[in-house]
């Protein structure tokens, strides 16, 4: 059992487990956390494949790096949207929102 095998198996398990949790989780913030963990699992598989060579393959590593930064920004956007979704109706302040329900 090489290090590669262990990490590949763990990555596959994490990706699928977290995705299944993402589909069944009602609470939106925990769904965002599940999404991040799922992407972590996928990245584990990619980096494990990249580390097979003598000289680590830089292209999957670059893809994972891009993925990490994008996931962080999208998590921020998702959390901002969740905050608006969960806010009390009268908290949705904004200029000119006079046509709201009483």
């Amino acid at each position: 059992m090489t290090r590669l095998d262990v990490v590949l198996a763990c990555g596959a398990v994490l990706a699928v487990l977290a995705t299944a949790r993402l589909l069944t989780e009602r609470d939106l913030v925990r769904a965002v956390i599940a999404l991040n963990i799922a992407s972590g699992g996928v990245m584990m598989v990619l980096i494990a494949i990249a580390s097979r060579a003598e000289l680590a393959d830089p292209v999957p590593q670059a893809m994972v790096l891009t993925g990490i930064v994008i996931t962080a920004a999208v998590t921020g956007l998702a959390l901002a949207l969740i905050r608006r979704i969960e806010a009390e109706p009268h908290d949705e302040a904004g200029p000119g929102r006079q046509d709201d329900e009483p």
């Binding site: 095998d5 925990r30 956390i33 494949i49 790096l65 998590t75 921020g76």
Partner: protein, 316 residues
């Protein structure tokens, strides 16, 4: 590379599975957020172990730092999840999902484990052309030269996400700093000590990316962390007003300008000639660092400012 799994590797993988499991299955939001930070730090250690230092740097800063800050901010604003019946009610549904998940996991594991243990991949192709790429580090060369188009799209996505979060701020105001009502003295002192160190380190990472692990992304997210710390202690963290919008689009804008120049006047879209590739990459990285830092810090400040406003207006 047939390296036997040492005890350290096994313990690390088990800890990853345990922290992920706790984050996914324990009921409280705050527990999930903190366990996710732990998961992020362990994941960064795993990347360092798997010969991916660039990824380890970015994961350490983002996973436990920026994303961790965003999550903890979200769970403190709304510690109780809104009540709702669980999405999956019946036992048969659970069994179906569990079976499907198991089948897919086994399939992925079998497919990836069947790959040869040692394959050259693209590392040699990158090594051959590294000399003419303008930098000496393969990952930086791939990110900013060979796969520059992907990086262009990524920076565009960051700018769009940041602008979307800013537009969600209540009242449509552009936030400059989150209002910190009462900053404890140790935190204030820590910020004053650490932020200059972090800025220095970010500058070094930016320049070091040409020859060793580092580069625009690591430097940008490190700066974002420093700006978040500034915002949490009530100091101005973001450029005000229209400078903010300018900083957000400067990264995409300069990348688009470079694409336009190379497509029309040069040899092809984002084909960097050997003579000026190094200079172009460093200049582009500098602008990207600022843009990435402002985008991520803006996402945090806009969300946290709006959270403070909604908390104040909620009925007591």
């Amino acid at each position: 590379m047939m390296m036997a799994a040492t005890a350290f590797d096994l313990v690390l993988v088990l800890a990853l599975l345990a922290s992920a499991g706790l984050a996914l299955f324990l009921p409280r939001r705050s527990t999930a957020a903190v366990m996710f930070c732990v998961f992020g730090v362990l994941l960064a250690t795993l990347w360092a172990r798997m010969a991916a230092p660039d990824v380890a740097l970015a994961e350490a800063i983002l996973g436990a730092g920026v994303t961790g800050a965003l999550l903890i901010d979200a769970v403190t604003a709304h510690p109780k999840a809104p009540d709702g019946s669980p999405a999956v009610r019946r036992r048969t549904h659970w069994l179906a999902i569990a079976t499907l998940a198991a089948v897919i996991a086994v399939g992925i594991a079998a497919a990836t484990l069947a790959l040869p243990d040692s394959a050259p991949g693209l590392a040699e192709a990158v090594e051959e052309r590294l000399g003419s790429s303008g930098v000496d580090h393969p990952v930086t060369a791939v990110l900013l030269n060979f796969r520059g188009y992907d990086t262009l799209l990524e920076v565009a996505l960051l700018a769009i996400a940041a602008l979307a979060v800013l537009s969600l701020a209540p009242g449509g105001e552009m936030p400059v700093a989150a209002e910190a009502l009462d900053v404890p003295a140790p935190l204030d002192a820590l910020t004053r000590l650490i932020v200059p160190v972090v800025v220095l380190f970010a500058g070094w990472l930016l320049v070091a990316g040409s020859t060793r692990p580092g580069g625009a992304f690591q430097s940008g997210v490190l700066l974002a962390g420093a700006m978040i710390l500034l915002a949490l202690t009530g100091r101005p963290a973001l450029p005000p007003g229209s400078w903010l919008r300018l900083a957000l689009v400067a990264g995409v804008g300069s990348y688009l300008a470079l694409s336009g120049l190379t497509a029309s006047g040069g040899r092809g879209l984002l084909v960097l000639d050997e003579e000026w590739a190094g200079f172009a990459i460093l200049a582009l990285e500098t602008v990207l660092t600022a843009s990435i830092a402002v985008a991520l810090a803006g996402v945090f400040v806009a969300s946290s400012r709006s959270s403070r406003l909604t908390a104040r207006e909620a009925p007591r």
